[in-house]
Amino acid sequence: MKNRLRELRAVNGWSQAHLADLVDVSRQTVNALEKGRYDPSLPLAFRLARVFSTTIEDLFEPSADDLGIAANQALTSTD
């Protein structure tokens, strides 16, 4: 899943460690999230959206794989 964490963190001038403190996770977790190696749980996604004063939808963008083949087909058929 793509996300705007790194971009928004840079805009705010925060370090990974500072963002980690704000959402109560380790710095490694923030790094893994930014690199797209780990997708957060829903509670963590809400916490991240809150500290950036935005929404989860604005912060995270699911890939086609994340949506799943069935979901993609359903979306295509409604077009």
Partner: protein, 151 residues
Amino acid sequence: MLYITVTINEPPDLELPSQREPKLSAADKRQRNHYLREFIPAMLAYVVVLLVVLPLVDDVTTAARFWVLLPLVPLVAVAVAIYRSVQRADEYGRLIQLESMALGFGAMILTSLTFGFLGIVGVALAFSGFLIFAAGMLTWALSIAFRWGDC
């Protein structure tokens, strides 16, 4: 004479704060300190008990040989310290820990089965229990180091 003045601007600071600030968040430090406060005394107790017990079990023909199991007591505290650190970890830390433990568990099973099958054909290795333990711990540690090291 024509002079051309070239002004070289300083490159923009592209460095993100994370590259010049501490690698550990406050939560990381809290977690590490909590773990070390539980782990180090337990390991020290283990080493002390081991040093005390080993000379007692020189004679493996007497009942005193069962003192050799005494170091397991402080090792329970070590196991509790590790378990509690996994509980305190955040969701990604817990994922890495549990996946690494699963790999270590797999390595222990494969190693123990190897020794088991070798035993069928009469090949018995000395200290095979310690080798099984080492295989599991090494796999666990390498998995954590590899995945954390990439972060």
